[in-house]
């Protein structure tokens, strides 16, 4: 079994993020965490679906949501998923500069997404949807806001990696870190697929 032997660091391993025991443990442990995150978002989506009809006298989904804005946000997040995939492919090529470049692109796209979301919340607030206006308002802000907080956390995480490792080059120590950050970013995208379908599309169409 080649993977149990000491690794000759002069040679680029096929998957540097899984070449060390620490890297493999990080990979596995991170998926355990993502399983738990799935449940977290599942319960928030369930709460939203249960409460979204309770608008009392406040504005409802059909009065507020703009499909064009949500479409742009979705495209931005999908594209940021692609740029982070490109980062990992370049990591496997041993091209650290391009890895940093694609990760920076991901951060920029993530920030753009977050900007749109803040603008969206600002608009809704001025349209009369405060956090405690109705059951719909509370469950909407909690669900979408939790996702937004995850995006913010991902941006801070990747930026920290970019600053910390801007000069070190690719190592067996930082490769797993970049890999988990990218997995996290994809997961945010997966959650958004559910949110734009269940919150925005069902909110307007159903």
């Amino acid at each position: 079994m080649a993977e149990h032997e000491a690794i000759d660091i002069k040679e680029l391993p096929e998957q540097p993020e899984k070449a060390t025991l620490e890297g493999r443990n990080k990979y596995l442990g991170f998926w355990f965490f993502l399983g738990g995150e799935t449940v977290l978002f599942g319960s928030l989506i369930g709460t939203y679906l249960g409460l979204r009809g309770g608008t009392i006298d406040g504005p409802g989904p059909a009065d507020l949501f703009h499909l064009d804005l949500v479409f742009i946000m979705t495209m931005i997040l999908l594209t940021s998923s692609l740029t982070s995939v490109m980062a990992i492919i370049n990591m496997h090529r041993g091209n650290f500069k391009k890895l940093l470049m694609w990760m920076s692109m991901t951060v920029i796209l993530g920030t753009a997404f977050l900007g749109f979301e803040i603008y969206e919340f600002y608009e809704y607030y001025h349209a009369g949807l405060g956090f405690s206006t109705s059951a719909f308002a509370s469950s909407f802000y909690t669900l979408v806001g939790t996702h937004g907080a995850h995006v913010l956390f991902g941006i801070v995480w990747i930026t920290t990696l970019l600053v910390r490792y801007r000069k070190t080059g690719l190592t067996l120590y930082n490769a797993p870190k970049f890999n988990t950050a990218v997995l996290y970013w994809h997961f945010i995208d997966v959650v958004w697929v559910f949110i734009f379908t269940v919150v925005y599309l069902l909110g307007i169409g159903g």
Partner: protein, 115 residues
Amino acid sequence: MSSHLDATAPLKGKPSKQTERKLKKEAKTQLASYFLMIAITSMAFISIASDAIPSGFAIPFILLLAAVQVTFQLYIFMHMGERKTSWVNIMIWTGMLIAVLTVGALMFLIGVVKY
């Protein structure tokens, strides 16, 4: 070969020819699935935005599209179909199962029985 491995030493060297070929193919697959996801997303938005499609059809249709897209994300972008990912699959699908049960249970608890 040294048994004391310094994990913080920068990695040098290039991937083998075979790996390079694999990575090229991989990049193509990722790009293709990206465009597929754009198409799926656009279809979902169009089926809701257009008045020509009745909502009785559009709602199950967009839920199906979401399921397809999430499966693509997990298996292509997040590489869940690779070798040695059985624990990964167990964790994420258990999470999904619990999430689905939670969504169903919460909706019935709160009393939503109609769409």
